[in-house]
Symmetry: C2
DNA sequence: ATACAAAAATTGTTGAACAGTCTGGACTCG
DNA sequence: CGAGTCCAGACTGTTCAACAATTTTTGTAT
């Protein structure tokens, strides 16, 4: 039974004032619960990318992926647009999308931003801010994951910890931006091997930081964080350099 | 002549290592020159939104808009995803997209971010940084526009000036984020009337700031900027309050 | 091997179709 | 008159099939 939709609508009323109707539900955005297929697919691809199932630089074929994920090409393209804006994928006209390949300058930029955002955010922290509880919860989680040798979990907990720091600034837009940057950082992590070496040194520093904040000593916490970030950047840059030189030597 | 595409590709090789081939052209990203239809359409809608042709809160019908812009619904949906990520549009499940409606808290958040980013960025500025030239060019443009009574142009120049400040931080991601926030701010501007009152007071402060930077006095510049931002926020908040109360009185 | 043309595969974009959801009005029942 | 119910119409969510434009691969002659 055909149901012709569009019909003969004159292209006049493209827009209609929508000020009147009271909004029914504002639907709070606690990491919005995936309402549409595209978002669900985006989440799956995101997961594949940061878990390393999709390696940086690899080409994502529209047909192959749409078959694998059981969605239409159109829907998949919507997803691609999403993830491209997030920085996880890279578009090349007429050639398709690729998983973004972080470079040295990517890492440098990410850490520049982390310093730029996290340090002031932490320095102005109030000990009773709700995000402090999240910080504490994250370090606890990190300790548990370490004891279980779950280093991917440690990585997640670490990201969560620093996301909580940014929440101290009480800016939803800033938090969203930081989440995006974190995603890119995870992409870098996936590129590197030996996650223990990468994460272990920082668990204790995080603990120290949250303790200082809880005690109302935000300035001291910020100082520790500054050292943390500088050290982490060095670690990751050198780890990256090792991997990069290895693969350019035709190791692959 | 039928041309069956997908065919019988086994869903195995979704991904292929792509490390080998040397990149042909890296295509520098000087605000990427609109390669695809979706990007072009996105630009047009963006323009419509910030120029006030599409007012906040209005519903964008997929069929109507796709007819007006002469693109298919599928393409338009890609565009919607783009602009939603940018914060210009808002999605509501099964109800479609609406032009985002800035609220008081939007303005507050935007200015919180501006302080957060612009002040440190300016404070650490080096007088010979290329972005300083852009700052100077922007204030010049603003003066010209003022003399021509082109207050929309003044607004653009002002945005450009502050974008240049952010460029001082040398972080592409930060600059991109700031550009996005600026877009939302323009949305707010569109909501307010009397642009002269809104922009005129700040032209001279911008001039003062760039002069200080050129003379190597970044700290002083940062102080002026801080005052600027505080004042601008107050101005805009009160202007917004006037408009909001007027429209809620059933003025429309 | 190298260069070049034909063929194959992929992306870019469209139009139609249909299922699911929301909206507003007609209708009914107090 | 007002509140609840049901229904049809409109719109979004998603898929499919097709074709033009472009890139990549392949085959062949030099």
């Amino acid at each position: 039974m055909a149901k012709p939709i569009g019909g003969t609508k004159t292209a006049a009323s493209i827009e209609e004032k929508g000020r009147g109707r009271p909004i029914k539900r504002v639907r709070e955005k606690t990491s919005e619960p995936i309402q549409t297929l595209a978002e669900a697919v985006a989440a799956r691809i995101r997961e594949k990318v940061i878990s390393g199932k999709l390696t940086p630089g690899s080409h994502l074929s529209e047909i192959a992926l749409s078959e694998e994920l059981q969605v239409s090409r159109n829907t998949l393209r919507e997803v691609f647009r999403l993830l491209t804006k997030e920085g996880l994928l890279r578009y090349e006209a007429n050639r398709g999308v690729f998983v973004a390949t972080p470079s040295m300058s990517t890492i440098i930029d990410i850490y520049r931003i982390r310093r730029f955002i996290e340090i002031p955010s932490l320095a102005q922290a109030h000990p009773r801010h709700p995000a402090v509880k999240k910080m504490r919860a994250s370090v606890d989680a990190a300790h548990r994951c370490r004891d279980a040798d779950d280093w991917l979990g440690v990585g997640s907990a670490d990201i969560g910890f620093h996301a909580a720091i940014v929440e101290l600034a009480d800016s939803p837009r800033l938090a969203g931006f930081y989440a995006q940057v974190s995603l890119e950082l995870r992409l870098v992590f996936g590129l590197l091997q030996d996650p223990e070496f990468l994460h272990a040194p920082f668990i204790d520093q995080n603990t120290l930081i949250v303790t200082q904040v809880e005690n109302g000593n935000s300035a001291a916490a910020a100082e520790i964080l500054e050292a943390y970030l500088a050290q982490a950047e060095r670690f990751i840059l050198s780890a990256y350099a090792r991997v990069a030189s290895a693969s350019s030597r035709g190791f692959e």
